[in-house]
Amino acid sequence: MQIQDAGGQLTSRTTYRLADLADYLARLVLPFLGALVLTTVVLLTVDVAPLDAYRILLFGAFSTPIRFGDMVMLASPLILCAGGLTLTFAAGLYNLGIEGQVVLGAIAAMIPLRLFPDLPPPLLWMISFAFGAAGGMIWALLAASLRLGAGVNEIFAGLGLNFLASGIALYLILGPWRREGSASSSGTALLPRELWLPTVGSLRLAPLAPIIALVSLVIVWWVLSRMRWGLEVRAVGLNGAAADRLGVPAVKRMAQAMAGCGLLAGLAGTLQVLGVFHQLIPNISSGVGLIGLLVVLLVLARPIWVLPVAVVFATFTVGSVQLPLTLGIDSSIAGVLQGALVLAALVSRGLMQRRRRA
């Protein structure tokens, strides 16, 4: 191994590359096959023709402009969350608190909307996005400080803060921010029409949402792959002690990665308020943070892959909405497919690693 002539090194490198390629293909193909098998089994057990179901799941979101708009409006916050999570993933942190960060972003975004409804809408939107980003960031920093200051694992801190966040949302909806007349747990009063993000024609598609999402994703990609900060964050995530020895302020970088993720989650929450629900509802995040976690389990710390995977996941979800009407099955099959995909990817990744070690 150590005494290797140039020729020997060359051959071992080329074989290594071939093995890499095979690995890569297996990594892409195996999860899909695995997920399809799993989902097909589920579909067959409920007596549904799998091909019909897959047609709807895969193409349903593109069948009408309305559905396509819905897909984009789901993909946008998803891209924000998953993009943010690539930051924390790179730093070696599992930010399970992202749901709470989305909720806090939404709550914070509501504050200026309620306080200054008379400001010109564009200005109000900007303030609202700033508030939302700050809200998500503060919530993320809270989890980070629990981890870095008190030694609470960020997974548990995040989960706890998720409950706290939805508790706060519910309290606001039933308490101080309740509707005129009777309080309802279905949400606060709808925002005035002129505060909704402008949409394309009669669609629910607000072009600002995908623009914000894509710009953020490009920034995340640039930061992680080109900026010194990104390299430092990756070094900390791979080996904190060694990074520290090389002069990287590890604790600071971890906190900053969390803050960055919280900021993006806060923007996602703001989008949910301004562009999707136009009110604060208890389930304001619609689980977009959790799906973001699934996405990031697939793409790891590679932001480039966030866009296709997030779009595919949003497609599944939007397509599945038609399932109850056309095939008479519940729409949760989209979740089955997404979950099976991630599970199969994790399994094949694990098998791959075991094979390489053996």
Binding site: Q2, S12, R226, R228, A235, N239, L246, G247
Partner: protein
């Protein structure tokens, strides 16, 4: 029990770690297995103890062919292996470790397990308390516990992989006594080492591996060291370098053209001139970390010196190194670096003052395994928004050429061999470094790699950098230090010029014989 292997082969990718080995280890004897790093010793032992499965070939225990699917199978058949790093549960006590790893119904009660533990430990001359948490034990004690556990589980053949790494001389003595006793009782002992003197002191036979092949089979001890070295390293090193022999404890005439400073022939005086600027100055420093403490240390280290830290593992050497590198702050006293008071300064300030720290465990806190040399150089660039990849790649290329690292600029460092990783870590030390605190700079390296590392370190010293290093290897300490600090029982000696010491004297000092702490 007799162990026999026939045509045993194991490959990892393109590397033939074991190439058609055929060997027979007779029972009731201690068998040494020698070889430099990467020769295939550990692979062979892992095959025999079931941690790895062979690609081809046959294993026989007492004449019976066996197929081992795991270490449990091997232990069931009577073969147990003590690993270099103990594989135990640190959170458990000694007794709990014994219980949880024993086969079912081996111990009907805790009381019986306790009795077994204490009697076996006593018989072997080990100091083991059943209720001590393993995490609080020394490496030597954990090794003793592992031996007791394997024997209690029915092992009749013990495999020890570099067992004297990281344990005290007294523990090594106790270990050797115990191994002799076990062999006398009819057990087989396989002793893997690259330390010739240990093999000579302990083993009945010795087998030598080189690049996966058997080059010396069951040679009866004693053998001339020269011959063993030739078998281990081939003709090349023995003929081209006296340092290899020196490290192995053999004195030969210095061959010409070796750019290594040799003991006794150092043109520098052993006393630094009083006008040489100081890199480090410690005044009445008291510090503690865990159980280890240093009291009222006064120390002056001028530029361009190599200071060796000798002593039993955990006697305070690491503590001093961490103090010198600013990774630990003293409870009292003052630390001056280049004449500036840095007593309470942060690690970053130490780095900016040109102090670098090289930890012993490279992959844990030395380098980021998944990143390449280029990435590492990029991290070392002065702060800025972006990194200059071109500059980093060039720096990596230069380092690869200058330090003879077998890698490309973009190879992840984890894919390199230990020696190359160590050279990479050294290459990452900036040229402006004034003081280098190294923990076991050549741990786990073969002789040629270790020698390469020392050439680099000495080249740095020539430019005024001072090196302080801790090592468990007396030969290394004697070969490279200008002065030696001996640590014993939480005390530190004065700086002892190497010329005034011999290896034997140093060994005595480490054991506390005639030890004097530096004047308070």
């Amino acid at each position: 029990m007799e162990i026999a292997v026939t045509n045993l082969t194991k490959t990892f990718g393109s590397l033939r770690a074991n190439d058609r080995l055929s060997l027979r280890f007779a029972s009731g004897k201690i068998h040494g297995v020698l070889g430099e790093n990467g020769a295939g010793k550990s692979t062979l032992m892992k095959l025999v103890s079931g941690f790895l499965q062979p690609d081809a070939g046959q294993l026989e225990f007492d004449g019976q062919p066996v197929r081992l699917r795991g270490p449990g199978d091997a232990l069931g058949a009577g073969v147990g292996m003590v690993h270099q790093d103990p594989l135990d549960v640190p959170g458990f006590t000694a007794l709990e470790n014994l219980l949880c790893a024993a086969p079912r119904r081996a111990f009907p009660s805790r009381a019986m397990a306790r009795t077994t533990l204490t009697t076996m430990a006593q018989r072997l001359g080990f100091t083991l308390a059943p209720d001590t948490p393993v995490g609080a034990m020394t490496v030597g004690q954990r090794q003793q516990l592992e031996i007791v556990r394997l024997l209690a589980c029915g092992a009749r053949t013990l495999i020890l992989d570099e067992p004297t790494t990281g344990i005290t001389a007294a523990q090594a003595q106790a270990l050797f006594e115990a191994l002799r006793q076990l062999a006398a009782d009819g057990n087989t002992v396989l002793f893997v080492s690259h330390k010739l003197d240990e093999v000579a002191a302990l083993c009945d036979t010795v087998s030598v591996l080189r690049t996966g092949q058997l080059v010396g089979e069951q040679l009866p001890m004693p053998q001339p060291q020269q011959r063993l070295l030739e078998l281990m390293f081939g003709e090349r090193i023995v003929q081209t370098s006296g340092q290899a022999l020196l490290l192995a404890g053999v004195t030969v005439n210095e061959p010409p053209g070796v750019p290594v400073v040799h003991p006794g022939q150092d043109e520098r005086s052993s006393e630094a001139s009083p006008t040489t600027p100081l890199v480090w100055q410690l005044e009445q420093v008291t510090a503690r970390e865990g159980m280890v403490r240093l009291r009222n240390v006064d120390l002056r280290i001028p530029q361009g010196r190599v200071i060796g830290l000798a002593g039993l593992d955990g006697s305070g050497q690491q503590l001093l190194l961490r103090l010198l590198a600013g990774r630990l702050h003293p409870d009292s006293g003052r630390i001056l670096v280049n004449g500036v008071d840095m007593t309470r300064a942060r690690t970053r300030t130490y780095r900016e003052a040109g102090i670098e720290y090289l930890p012993a465990d490279r992959m844990r806190d030395g380098i980021v395994g998944a990143l390449s040399l280029t990435d590492h150089f990029a991290l070392l660039q002065p702060a800025g928004i972006t990194v200059d990849r071109q500059v980093a790649v060039q720096a990596a290329r230069d380092a690869i050429a200058a330090y003879e690292i077998k890698a490309t600029p973009i190879t992840p460092l984890i894919a390199l061999s230990g020696g190359n990783q160590q050279r990479a870590m050294l290459a990452l030390v900036p040229d402006a470094c004034r003081g280098l605190a190294c923990e076991q700079p050549t741990r786990g390296l073969d002789v040629a790699s270790a020698q390469g590392i020392w050439q680099r370190l000495q080249a740095r010293c020539a430019t005024g950098c001072s090196v302080v290093f801790a090592s468990a290897d007396l030969d290394e300490l004697m070969a490279y230090s200008d002065e030696i600090l001996v640590f014993f029982a939480g005390e530190m000696s004065a700086l002892l010029p190497r010329a005034t010491l011999t290896g034997a004297r140093l060994a005595e000092l480490i054991g506390g014989v005639g030890f004097e702490r530096s004047a308070p």
